[in-house]
C-alpha cells in the first residue's frame, strides 16, 4: 500500500491529464444540474411534490 514517488526531479509535477478530464466532467455535470434546477425549479427541500395537492392553488400561482 505504500505509494511510489510520482517523479524524482526537482520540478513540481503538472496536473495529470486524467485530473483535468475529471474536472471537466464535474464542471459539465454541475452546469447541467444548475440548468435543470433553473428550468425545473428543483431543490433538496421538501414540499415540491405536495404543493399542488395541499392547497390546490399552487399550480395557479405558477401559471
Amino acid at each position: 500500500m505504500t505509494p511510489a514517488p510520482d517523479h524524482a526531479d526537482d520540478s513540481a509535477p503538472g496536473m495529470p491529464r486524467w485530473v483535468k478530464t475529471f474536472i471537466g466532467i464535474i464542471v459539465v455535470v454541475l452546469v447541467m444540474l444548475v440548468f435543470l434546477k433553473i428550468i425545473g425549479g428543483g431543490g433538496h427541500g421538501p414540499g415540491r411534490p405536495r404543493a399542488s395537492a395541499d392547497t390546490g392553488q399552487t399550480q395557479q400561482k405558477h401559471r
Binding site: 500500500m1 505509494p3 514517488p5 509535477p13 486524467w18 421538501p46 415540491r48 411534490p49 405536495r50 395537492a53
Partner: protein
C-alpha cells in the same frame, strides 16, 4: 500518524465494506425509485416511497458516514495522506458531497413518505422523479470513487509533492 499493519488492514476492511455497501444500497434505492415511478399498482407505488425514508435513515446514512469516517482514518493513518494524491482528494470530494446531499435529502424522503401515506393524494402526486435522478447520480459518483480506489491513478498534488520532497530529504526510511 501511520497505523500499524494490522490496524491498517482492519480500517481498510471497514472502509471497503462501508463504501461498497453504500454503493449496493444506492443501487437498491434506484430500483425502488424506478418501481415508484413506473409501477401501475397503487399500493406498490405508495409502498416504495414509504419504505425509502426508514431505509435511508437506517441504511444509507449510516453507510455514508461510516464510509466517510473510515476513509478519513484510512487516509490519515497511512502514507497516502488526505491531500497528497489527486485520486484520494477526488474520493474525499465525492464522499463529502454525496454525504451532504444525502443528509439534506432526508427531509425530502420524509415528505415523500408523508404524501404516499395520505390516501387522499392522487397517485400522480405521489410519484416523484427526484429519487431516480438522485440515485442515478449517486450511483455514478460512487462507482467513480470505487474505480479511483482500485486503480489509484498517479498524480500528486503540489502539497503532496512538497511533502514527498521533505520526506525524501529528511528521513528516507520514514516510510
Amino acid at each position: 500518524m501511520i497505523m500499524p499493519p494490522g490496524v491498517r488492514k482492519l480500517a481498510l476492511t471497514l472502509h471497503v465494506t462501508a463504501s461498497v455497501g453504500w454503493l449496493g444500497a444506492v443501487a437498491a434505492f434506484l430500483a425502488l425509485a424506478i418501481v415508484g415511478q413506473t409501477s401501475r399498482d397503487a399500493e406498490t407505488v405508495r409502498g416504495a416511497y414509504l419504505v425509502m425514508e426508514p431505509a435511508a435513515r437506517l441504511i444509507l446514512l449510516p453507510l455514508a458516514y461510516a464510509s466517510l469516517i473510515t476513509g478519513l482514518l484510512q487516509s490519515l493513518g497511512t502514507s497516502w495522506g488526505l491531500f497528497r494524491h489527486y485520486w484520494v482528494l477526488f474520493k474525499l470530494l465525492i464522499n463529502v458531497v454525496a454525504t451532504v446531499i444525502l443528509t439534506s435529502y432526508m427531509a425530502t424522503f420524509s415528505h415523500m413518505a408523508g404524501v404516499a401515506a395520505d390516501s387522499n393524494v392522487d397517485l400522480s402526486e405521489v410519484r416523484n422523479a427526484s429519487p431516480v435522478l438522485h440515485a442515478t447520480l449517486a450511483l455514478f459518483a460512487l462507482l467513480v470513487a470505487t474505480v479511483l480506489a482500485i486503480y489509484k491513478p498517479r498524480g500528486v498534488t503540489p502539497y503532496g509533492w512538497r511533502k514527498q520532497r521533505e520526506d525524501s530529504r529528511g528521513s528516507p526510511n520514514s516510510r
